[in-house]
Amino acid sequence: MAKYDYVPSAFRSNPIVKWVDHRLPIFELIDEQLIKYPAPRNLNYMWNFGSLAGICLVIMIVSGIFLAMNYQASTLHAFDSVERIMRDVNYGWLIRYIHMNGASMFFIVVYIHIIRGFYYGSYKAPREILWWLGIVIFLLMMATAFMGYVLPWGQMSFWGATVITNLFSAIPVVGQAIVTWLWGGFSVDNPTLNRFFALHYLMPFVIAGVVLLHLWALHVHGSNNPLGIDAKGPQDKVPFHPYYTVKDALGLGVFLIVFAYFVFFNPYMLGHPDNWIPANPLVTPAHIVPEWYFLPFYAILRAVPDKLGGVLLMFGSIAILFLLPWLDTSRVRSAKFRPAYRLFFWLFIAVCFVLGWAGGQPAEGPALLIGRIATILYFAHFLVFLPLLGWFEKPLPLPSSIAEPVLGGGKMAAAAAMEKA
């Protein structure tokens, strides 16, 4: 833990609190990790998205549990039970809209959270394991979202399940056996739906477990910050409460307004109308697309005119993130001091959007070509640009401390430096 001297909060001297803490130091934990927890004084609003992601997870779990009380995981009743939730269950429409759009909100928040890490180099030493755990959470989220989308048992549910599970058939020799095992039969059917529901219910709690590890790893060295330099002493930090609890609360308010817009005014904007057609194993919709948050990866899958190659490249596009801390050879964390990286960063963001667009188009003509170019650029960012930038780029001079730009680099920063020496 990032230890530094602090005065315990007043409530810690309450005799009951003391009695509990002596046996289970839960108040001490809250005080040290949430209230007095020292955070860099210069965190900007990009640092809101971690706590927002946590709140999204809670919203998804709560709304999901209430949906599960009315959902029936059977091919005969799944579609109708969802319609019943929408029409007959008290506030069922609200809970389902929260859950449906909550998935999209969760991905938006997490994507911004990841991109924040890209821009400010949050994946660099000593935060590599923190970064890995984040990728694990992201992968679990993708699996959870995919299985959740199957549950309403509409056409997109059914064919999405068919296509995604068939990805595993690309594995040589055992591929077909794996797919049969995943399905529990010879096509996506009742056993598939049942197990997807069971796993969809389980996964969020697995995610919550990994989130705890993520927070644990975070609190070892503390948050990165927009300058990307390490805090040098107490003058570089402020207690988490009230500074960042209030900042997070404001961000939450803004987030909830955006969320409420989708829930109340445009609940189907991010969905696909074909999912109102009950699943039909005999007819595939003319143009099947995944949910928007999978589109960039779908574009990479389709960019390769080879079954196994496409699948490997798609999983590779996420697997490569595990290597990011070493592919980026620059010692400077924040893009603020890396003018060349900054250009490539924005190019990368643009590439991701282009991939997202290409993934939503039919796989033919210019969209396919553009998707292929974007796929090459996506991997080039990690395998070519980032390793080379570290060598060729001349970073801007770093400030000597976080407090320097604020306090003028005067006595306090100097004193802190002396203290360290």
């Binding site: 709304s63 209430f66 009315n70 007959d88 269950v89 008290n90 506030y91 809970i95 609360a249």
Partner: protein, 189 residues
């Protein structure tokens, strides 16, 4: 400088009312109250979702055709997931039920208050002890010491008006809300 009731600026720059509260205190309370109200209202939607839904409420009443039920016969119908006993009482059973109005009843109620037409007794077939379904609908069933119903779970005896006479049950068998829509049809619920 400061008038009574208007904020005064203290040495550290915070504005304070004469009663010692600050502007920040107010904002803190107002924000918390706003957030708590929103959370409570949202929470209500989730709690209410567990109440009976529209499709459940739509099945909350049942129509029963009594044309085929002869005196001495009984039928059991389902209403809101529970059994409802409809017995066509014989004149002897009616007479017995009226006679017992003055007997020592654990839950005193005259027979006339428990029926709309004396020949039709409509009861919720749920023992008021712990919710078992009493015997007595079939001619071969044990009907207990009073010729009505007998609950096999813990031995409660009900008479020909469905009143508790002996055993652990505290109350008479409940009479559900029902109405005769015509001579031979009732609507329960």
């Amino acid at each position: 400088m400061a008038q009574s009731g208007s904020p005064a600026v203290s040495a550290d720059g915070t504005r304070k009312h004469p009663d010692g509260s600050t502007r920040r205190d107010f904002l803190y309370l107002a924000t918390t109250a706003f957030g708590a109200t929103g959370a409570a209202l949202t929470g209500w939607a989730f709690i209410d979702s567990m109440n009976p839904s529209a499709d459940v409420l739509a099945l909350a009443s049942t129509e029963v055709n009594l044309a085929a039920v002869q005196p001495g016969m009984a039928i059991t119908v389902t209403w809101r997931g529970k059994p409802v006993f409809v017995r066509s009482r014989t004149p002897e059973e009616i007479a017995k039920a009226k006679e017992d109005d003055t007997a020592g009843l654990p839950d005193p109620q005259p027979d006339a208050k428990r029926v709309q037409k004396p020949e039709w007794l409509v009861l919720l077939g749920v023992c008021t002890h712990l919710g078992c379904v009493p015997l007595g609908q079939k001619p071969t069933d044990a009907r207990g010491d009073y010729g009505g119903w007998f609950c096999p779970c813990h031995g409660s005896h009900y008479d020909t008006s469905g009143r508790i006479r002996k055993g652990p049950a505290p109350k008479n068998l409940e009479v559900p809300p029902y109405a005769f829509t015509n001579d031979k049809t009732i609507k329960i619920g």
